[in-house]
Structure formats: structure tokens, C-alpha cells
């Protein structure tokens, strides 16, 4: 209980708005955004600022989720690398998390972890696990035995072989997996609005935006651009780490 602290001053008069507060509206004078036009340029120009915070939130969600997912999936791969018996269950487990539509995951987590960014991050990371894990395993499997034998012959320990030979050679495959995971995460992160996690979904679903095509297009457009930007950056990374390999990787 608070002590007898100074109260906010009692308000002298109940709030009354001036005459100019009210605007006349009629069907003829409705602005573009009140109609069902597909895109309102004027409104977009004036209001582009409101997409700033959601975009930043979205970026944070994606970055943290992918990093977290990568950390976990990578740990899984290291575990499964030397223990083949772990591979089927890990693949199946991450596969189930991938196949379950993320919206189900979001709503399942809500009663357990509450509303907020953390819940969204957990769900988003879970979705990335399979693709990163699988690609890492494929990358490691693709390392030629001859190279490993040579390394062994040179006297490297198993651990050194892993970190100095196998993983570097597996990097392009790993990055390819990261690419797919990141692009998918950007798209799915729009659902974070259901878990109270912010992001661009707030400009698609809340605040009366669901019937406002302009906002949906802008928010969706920003998401797509963000995904493609991430993809481009990672693609360049992938190409840079494989100077010896060219050609389209699906």
C-alpha cells in the first residue's frame, strides 16, 4: 500500500473537447482509406512512419529466433554426428515441430509461457530446427571420406577433424539451411501478433487493419523485402564460403 503521497492534482474541469474536434463525414467525402480501394498512396506516404517499430520488432524476432534455433540445431548435429542412433529420433522430433502449423504452436504455448515476445521466439525457433539440423547433417555427411582419412593420417584428433575439416567443408550446406530457415521465419513471424509478440503482424491483424488492404500490402511487402534481403545476404555468405562451387543450389 502506498503511503499518503501527494496525489495528482484534482482536475478542475471534466475534459471537454472543442468544436473543431469533430469532423463532418459523408459517403462522398470519405478518404481513400475508408473505401475498399486496394492501395492508397497518399495514406501510405503520410503514415509510413508507423511501420518503423513493428519492422524493428520483426527484425529482432527473426534474428533472435534463428540464432536460437541455430544454436540448438547445431548442438543436436554435434551430438548426432558421432551417435548415429540419435539421428532418427532427432530428425523425427524436429520434423514434427516443422510439420505442425506454427499457429498451433503459438496458441499451445500461450497458457504455458504467457503472452509476449518470448513465447513467439520459442515457437519460431522450434520451426527452424529441422531445416538447420537436416542441412547440417547433410553437409557433414557430404564430406569426402578421403579427406577425413587424410586428416586422420596427418594425426588430427576426431575433435580437430570435426572443427577444422568437416565443419568448414559443411559450411555451404549449413548456410543454405540457414537461408531457408530465415526466409521462412520472417514470414511466420507475422503470426507473433497472436502471442502479443509484436512485429509486422500488428499492422495486418490489429487496429482495424484486417479490412485495410493498403496496410496489409505494406506490412506484407516489408516482410517479403526483409526475407529477400536476409536471403541475399546469406546467399552471398554461402557463395563466399564456397569459392570452389558454383551453380544454383535449390
Amino acid at each position: 500500500m502506498t503511503g499518503a503521497a501527494a496525489l495528482a492534482l484534482p482536475l478542475a474541469k471534466a475534459g471537454e473537447v472543442g468544436e473543431g474536434f469533430f469532423h463532418e463525414r459523408s459517403s462522398e467525402t470519405l478518404p481513400c482509406q475508408a473505401t475498399d480501394k486496394l492501395f492508397c498512396f497518399d495514406w501510405a506516404k503520410e503514415n509510413i512512419g508507423r511501420y518503423g517499430t513493428p519492422t524493428v520488432q520483426h527484425l529482432e524476432l527473426v534474428a533472435i529466433s534463428v540464432l536460437l534455433g541455430f544454436a540448438i540445431a547445431f548442438a543436436f548435429s554435434l551430438l548426432a554426428h558421432r551417435r548415429p542412433w540419435l539421428r532418427p529420433p532427432l530428425l523425427a522430433g524436429t520434423g514434427i515441430l516443422y510439420t505442425i502449423p506454427s499457429i498451433a504452436f503459438f496458441f499451445l504455448l500461450l497458457p504455458i509461457t504467457g503472452r509476449g515476445r518470448e513465447t513467439a521466439i520459442i515457437a519460431l525457433s522450434a520451426y527452424t530446427l529441422q531445416i538447420i539440423y537436416r542441412n547440417t547433417m547433410i553437409g557433414l555427411a557430404n564430406v569426402p571420406t578421403a579427406v577425413k582419412d587424410a586428416a586422420r593420417g596427418m594425426g588430427l584428433t576426431e575433435r580437430q577433424i570435426l572443427w577444422k575439416v568437416e565443419l568448414p567443408l559443411a559450411t555451404p550446406e549449413i548456410v543454405a539451411g540457414l537461408r531457408i530457415a530465415t526466409v521462412s521465419t520472417v514470414a511466420i513471424a507475422t503470426l507473433a501478433v497472436f502471442a502479443g509478440g509484436g512485429g509486422l503482424g500488428t499492422q495486418i491483424y490489429g487496429q482495424g487493419n484486417i479490412n485495410f488492404a493498403t496496410s496489409i500490402i505494406i506490412a506484407g511487402g516489408i516482410a517479403i523485402l526483409m526475407a529477400l534481403a536476409f536471403d541475399a545476404v546469406l546467399l552471398i555468405t554461402q557463395r563466399l564460403t564456397t569459392p570452389w562451387r558454383r551453380g544454383a543450389q535449390a
Binding site: A6, A12, A14, G15, V17, D36, G196, Y205, Q207, I210
Partner: protein
């Protein structure tokens, strides 16, 4: 030597002047919101004691609710509280659970919705006046460890709406006029409308209406489905700006059997939260909503739903024009 003493004295004088002016500025800044002629006329004053309390303000999932949530959140912030807003929680049961579980500090609810949806009161037993309805709801909330703050001036109710030309073709003025015709008409409403007595359940029970189909859609699409011709009837709100701005397009049917009671907004919060937050919690909310008459709320709704302003912006404009914030 002389210049040093003179310099020193000058320095002290300057320092003193600085300190004095800082002091005046500090005293002034605690009252810097008041721009009116009378000191502190209408303005919310920040109370540093409140800074120890963090409040999470929630709302339900449609624009009018988000505006209210923003108004309360911004007002409480001006009063010195640490405020987080977690609007768009969902429908009334979700918001109710959020308050009970402590995930949210409080949210604005309509007294009629609380009485009919939470406490199972039949529409005819919902008190007609704002104050009696508020008191009844408050008494019921207290049984759950929640409390409610006094009501807003404006009230809102559900309504059965349709395109004006549909109403003219079928000669519909009241909901009862739907008798005999409703079987061939589709009704669209929010998902929880199915079980709410001031919605589909009430239409079936009290008006005895059966519809060709009921399709649940998000509240934000209630006018879209009418415009696109998918819905013959849609559940609208009496405070909707579209009804005023596009009255040549949309019309609501009169609720002649009083199944859709109007509800003033009462802020629902946990009693323990209210105690910890101190008297400014209720005071600020009660004061800041005094300006929310029906025309004002409709104007704010219009800004968000028609002009697509963000609820935060509309709320800020209201608080400023009503003199609550600088």
C-alpha cells in the same frame, strides 16, 4: 589578485543564478502540462510515487477497445506509472482470463457484456441505467477478486445490421421484421457471437429466429462482408462510425425486444492491483474518461476505423484536445 577575487565572486554569482534557475525550472516542470489559464486545469500531473508500479493495460480485439486501451495507458503514463500496453488480447473471455491470471492489469469492458457473458444475467435483467449496471457488475466482479471503476458517459451495444437496400427491399425496420425471412438470410458475426446472449444465442432464443447460416469472421470484417455481398446480415456496433458516415449504405435494425442491452465501459482490474497502484489508478481513469461522450467516442472511432489513424494517435489527440495532457 583583485581580478581573481572579482572573477571568483562572478563565478559564484553565475553558479547561484544557475542553481536558482534550475530550481525554478524543476518546480515548473512538475507542472508543465498545464497550458490552460487556470493552474492545472484538467491536466494530469505526474506523481513520482506511481513510478514504482508497473501496469499492463489490455483491451479486446476491435478498434474502439484499442482506442480506450490507449487512452487509459497514455493517461496512466502521464500520471507517472510505468505502463505497458498489451492491446488486442482477444474476445471478452480471453481478456477476462488475462486479468484474473494477472497477465494484464486491467482492460475496458462493457457492463452489459460483463453481466451477460460472464455472469449469466439475462438481457431483460440488465439494469437500464449506467450506474445501476455498473454497480451490479462490480458486485459480481468482487466475487472473483476483481473490481471495476465507474462507467464512461457513452454506451455501445450490438446491433443487427444490413445494407440499406436489403432493408428497403425486405421492408426491415426492426429485428422482429426478420421473422419469416431470416431462414433465407446469412448472418455473419464474431466467433463468440454464437454463444453470446446479446448476439446469435439471443436472436435464436428471444426472437426465435433461425438463419440460413452463421459464419464467424473477425470483427474487423463486419462491414466488408456486407459490402462484398457475402453477408445478408452482420452484427455491428451502435457506435460504429460507418453508420454515421455511410448512412446511405448501411442501416441497423431496431432491437425492439431489447435483447442487445447497451453497455457503458467500466475498467476491470484485479482488486490487489488497484490497491498496490494507489488511488491515482482509479482517479486517473475516471477523470480521463469523463470526456468520452457518445459523439466524442464516435469521432475517435471514425478516425481509427475510417481514416485509419493508429489508436495511439487518436488517443493522444483526444487527451490533448480535452486538456488532459499538454
Amino acid at each position: 589578485m583583485r581580478t581573481t577575487t572579482r572573477g571568483a565572486r562572478a563565478a559564484v554569482a553565475v553558479l547561484l543564478a544557475l542553481v536558482l534557475s534550475l530550481g525554478v525550472a524543476a518546480c515548473g516542470s512538475s507542472n508543465d502540462e498545464s497550458t490552460g489559464e487556470e493552474e492545472g486545469a484538467g491536466a494530469i500531473v505526474s506523481n513520482p510515487e506511481n513510478g514504482k508500479v508497473t501496469l499492463t493495460i489490455g483491451s479486446k480485439n476491435f478498434p474502439e477497445q484499442e482506442i480506450l486501451g490507449e487512452i487509459y495507458a497514455q493517461a496512466l503514463k502521464a500520471a507517472g506509472y510505468k505502463v505497458k500496453s498489451d492491446l488486442n488480447l482477444g474476445s471478452e473471455t480471453v481478456a477476462h482470463q488475462a486479468v484474473k491470471s494477472g497477465a494484464t492489469s486491467g482492460y475496458p469492458e462493457y457492463a452489459s457484456t460483463a453481466l451477460t457473458s460472464f455472469f449469466g444475467i439475462e438481457p431483460e435483467e440488465v439494469p437500464a441505467g449506467a450506474q445501476p449496471a455498473y454497480e451490479k457488475a462490480k458486485a459480481e466482479f468482487e466475487k472473483e477478486g476483481l473490481t471495476a471503476f465507474p462507467p464512461t458517459p457513452f454506451a455501445s451495444a450490438n446491433a443487427v445490421g444490413t445494407l440499406k437496400k436489403t432493408a428497403e427491399e425486405r421492408e426491415l425496420k426492426t429485428v422482429s421484421d426478420l421473422e419469416g425471412q431470416s431462414e433465407e438470410m446469412t448472418l455473419y458475426g464474431s466467433p463468440e457471437c454464437r454463444q453470446r446472449i446479446d448476439c446469435l444465442a439471443g436472436l435464436e432464443k428471444y426472437y426465435g429466429l433461425k438463419f440460413k447460416s452463421f459464419t464467424p469472421v473477425d470483427i474487423g470484417l463486419r462491414y466488408t462482408v456486407l459490402e462484398k455481398g457475402q453477408a445478408d446480415l452482420s452484427i455491428l456496433f451502435t457506435t460504429d462510425p460507418q453508420l454515421a458516415a455511410e448512412k446511405d449504405k448501411f442501416v441497423i435494425l431496431e432491437d425492439d425486444k431489447h435483447v442487445f442491452p447497451a453497455g457503458n465501459v467500466i475498467f476491470v482490474t484485479k482488486s490487489s492491483v488497484a490497491e498496490k497502484a494507489g488511488p491515482d489508478y482509479e482517479k486517473t481513469i475516471v477523470e480521463v474518461q469523463k470526456g468520452l461522450t457518445l459523439p466524442v467516442m464516435q469521432e475517435l472511432d471514425a478516425r481509427v476505423e475510417l481514416e485509419k489513424q493508429s489508436p495511439a494517435k487518436a488517443a493522444a489527440a483526444y487527451l490533448k484536445e480535452a486538456g488532459y495532457t499538454g
